[in-house]
């Protein structure tokens, strides 16, 4: 039973036209029809009792990719990864690795290695012995093992800790041992289950970049499971956003953020203002929408916009909105008048919650690019909120 891979048709056509996020565009095997995926999930389903943890998931991961499964806890992302590692059986569908069906292969015969969320370092073994464990299973000779272990220790900069036991290491050190142990066998693919979950914020940010460097250095394919959208966006080439066992959208970080497939994705990654609207008219390249609640009119690009009369949602990110005490000039298309309802100052950014006449709340984020402002915006101020036609995204679901 084979079916064609269901990689979503890239929304990046629109992305390119609008020049969305001009980073990392050279590596894109998923756009190359001749590229063969390393891992292919085909119609994979997993049930626990009467709960369906993973529902009919199809997904391709290409060699050299840094792929992220992103979603809230319980969305099935960990189950999907554990099925690839061989710790969960499939109820339907199949998983192939480099063209070979993995069905029936026990975990110890699969050429992938996993970095566990709890790190799962063997407490009775030293750092060295932990790293050597997988190599010993392969029947490597003593000398080769020693050389490989030394290489791995150097890679994660833990040479001085070789003889320590895991409980004598800090959280960050443990994380690096787990990483070294998992890559020591040169697996075809490394699976990372919430690899940074146990680290504090500062260390997490540093480690994100270390992991990216390491992936390039080793030329290995990484699959990471995370619930932290920032982590996924920073590190991954592509992200699959999951919800209740299904993949909602697959795309590059810029795509899923700037062109979310639906309201769920828009709201899960970052903040978003959603307006329920009706399509009034389409005059290419513009679409004219009216808000259901306030009758305010919006003019946005007509990409993926259905015909007049349809009900759609307009999604606008807070940082793509402008806020001012004076009305903007007449040529600005989308303008909303309102009153400041709340202000949240975070240092680099300030979040303004603006109440529109109908009672709708709109969130606007402004970078604090000046230390001193002549007349700061204050509570209860009358303000104007505006955004450009290309700032909004029309969503149909």
């Amino acid at each position: 039973m084979s079916r064609p891979p269901t990689v979503k048709p890239p929304r990046s056509e629109a992305g390119r036209r609008l020049n969305i996020g001009a980073v990392r565009s050279s590596f894109a095997p998923w756009n190359d029809p001749d590229a063969t995926p390393l891992v292919r999930f085909e119609g994979v389903t997993k049930r626990f009792g009467d709960q369906t943890a993973v529902r009919d998931v199809s997904l391709d991961i290409y060699p050299g990719e840094f792929f992220a499964l992103l979603g809230p806890s319980g969305c099935g992302k960990t189950t999907l990864m554990r099925m690839l590692a061989g710790f969960e059986s499939l109820d339907a569908g199949r998983i192939t690795l480099a063209g070979e069906d993995l069905a029936g292969a026990p975990p110890h015969r699969r050429p992938v290695n996993m970095m566990f969320q709890s790190y799962a370092l063997f407490p009775h073994m030293t750092v060295e012995q932990n790293i050597a464990f997988g190599l010993k299973q392969d029947g490597m000779d003593r000398k080769a093992i020693d050389a490989r272990v030394a290489e791995m220790l150097a890679l994660v900069k833990l040479e001085a800790f070789a003889r320590r036991k895991p409980d004598q290491l800090s959280g960050g050190q443990k994380q690096r041992v787990a990483l070294a142990r998992a890559v020591a066998r040169k697996p075809t693919m490394l699976l990372l289950d919430e690899p940074l979950g146990a680290l504090d914020k500062k260390l997490r940010e540093e480690t994100q970049f270390e992991l990216m460097d390491l992936q390039v250095q080793l030329g290995m394919t990484f699959l990471i499971v995370t619930h932290d959208q920032e982590e996924a966006m920073v590190m991954a080439d592509r992200i699959a956003v999951m919800r209740e066992g299904e993949i909602v959208q697959i795309g590059r970080p810029e795509e899923v953020y700037e062109s979310p497939a639906n309201r769920y994705v828009a709201a899960f990654l970052g903040d978003v203002n959603l307006f329920e609207t009706t399509v009034e008219a389409i005059a290419h390249p513009m679409a004219h929408l009216t808000a259901t609640e306030t009758d305010a009119g919006f003019y946005v690009l007509d990409d993926d916009c259905p015909a007049a009369g349809a009900t759609v949602w307009l999604a606008v990110r807070p940082e793509k909105m402008r806020i001012s005490l004076d009305p903007p000039s007449a040529d600005v298309k989308n303008v909303l008048a309102g009153e400041i309802w709340d202000i949240g100052y975070t240092g680099d950014w300030t979040n303004y919650i603006v109440e529109l006449p109908g009672g709708t709340l709109v969130r606007v984020a402004r970078a604090n690019d000046r230390r001193v402002v002549e007349r700061p915006i204050d509570w209860d101020d009358k303000v104007w909120v505006s955004f450009d036609p290309d700032a909004g995204v029309v969503l149909t679901s």
Binding site: G86, F87, H108, F116, F122, H124, F133, Q137, D167, A182
Partner: protein, 268 residues
């Protein structure tokens, strides 16, 4: 901020522990008493211990008990550990409820009933009662205790460790031997010790399961005790208490030393 113990706590602890230990302390004291009377201190003496050495029946019984204990504890540890693995890792296999019921039931089963039941089995199977039947009976009794001790360790043992071993290329059996077993070993050893002491102590089941020629130490002590307090028995009891106490103290010191050693290395 834990408040310290109040006077009420101190009194209840003192009374409670005095109640627990006074009889044992007295027993030890009597064993060194030159007088046969429990109320008269006739001076320090080891003569009752010397007398033991010439009590051939008692020495024979001790030897039987030791052999039964070593053998039954070892078999029970193997079976009990297997049972614990099945309970902790087997998932809901067929017959799970019946199996866990059979594991837990011996823990609370009155010994008299268990002894009686085993005796009927041995008779039905036409086993000659003696050393082997006592060993079989003790294995059955103690394997449940081992299973419970090992099981409680296994459920707190991070399952991801076994998975990590398999992920790194170890077969399930190898993952168990090289990762799980070394980590649960203290519990397995504790299970063995518990099984051994239970076997050493047991009177009721041994009385049912044993036959002529295989009198265990508790059976011997029991037949003496029914005749009243004798200084020789005090001496035997003191020796048994000393063995057990030494074992437990060495054990807990070893555990403490291990954790202290780990802490020291972490600081270095």
């Amino acid at each position: 901020m834990r408040r310290g113990p109040s006077w009420f706590n101190l009194v209840s602890l003192t009374v409670g522990f005095a109640f627990l230990y006074l009889p044992i302390v007295l027993l030890v004291a009597w064993s060194f008493n030159a007088s046969r009377l429990v109320t008269v201190w006739g001076g320090f003496s080891t003569k009752w211990y010397v007398a033991l050495l010439s009590d051939q029946q008692l020495l024979d019984a001790a030897w039987v008990t030791l052999r039964v204990g070593l053998l039954s504890a070892t078999v029970a540890t193997v079976l009990g550990t297997l049972a614990a693995i099945a309970l902790a890792r087997g998932g809901r296999f067929r017959g799970h409820t019946l199996f866990s019921g059979m594991i837990y039931a011996p823990l609370v089963m009155p010994e008299v009933i268990m002894g009686l039941a085993l005796l009927l089995l041995f008779v039905a199977l036409r086993f000659d009662r003696g050393f082997w039947t006592v060993t079989l009976a003790h294995t059955t009794l103690t394997l449940s205790y081992v299973a419970v001790v090992v099981h409680s360790r296994l459920i707190t043992f991070d399952r991801a460790l076994e998975e990590a071993a398999q992920d790194l290329g170890a077969t399930p059996a190898r993952a168990f031997m090289s990762v799980t077993l070394p980590n649960i070993f203290p519990a397995v050893l504790a299970g063995w010790m518990l099984a051994f002491t239970l076997s050493l102590d047991d009177l009721v089941i041994a009385s049912f399961a044993s036959g002529p020629g295989a009198t265990t130490l508790p059976m011997r002590i029991y037949s003496q005790v029914r005749l009243g307090v004798t200084p020789e028995i005090n001496a035997v009891c003191t020796i048994l208490i000393a063995i057990v106490a030494t074992g437990v103290i060495i054990w807990s010191l070893a555990m403490k030393w291990r954790s202290a050693g780990a802490a020291r290395q972490a600081l270095a």
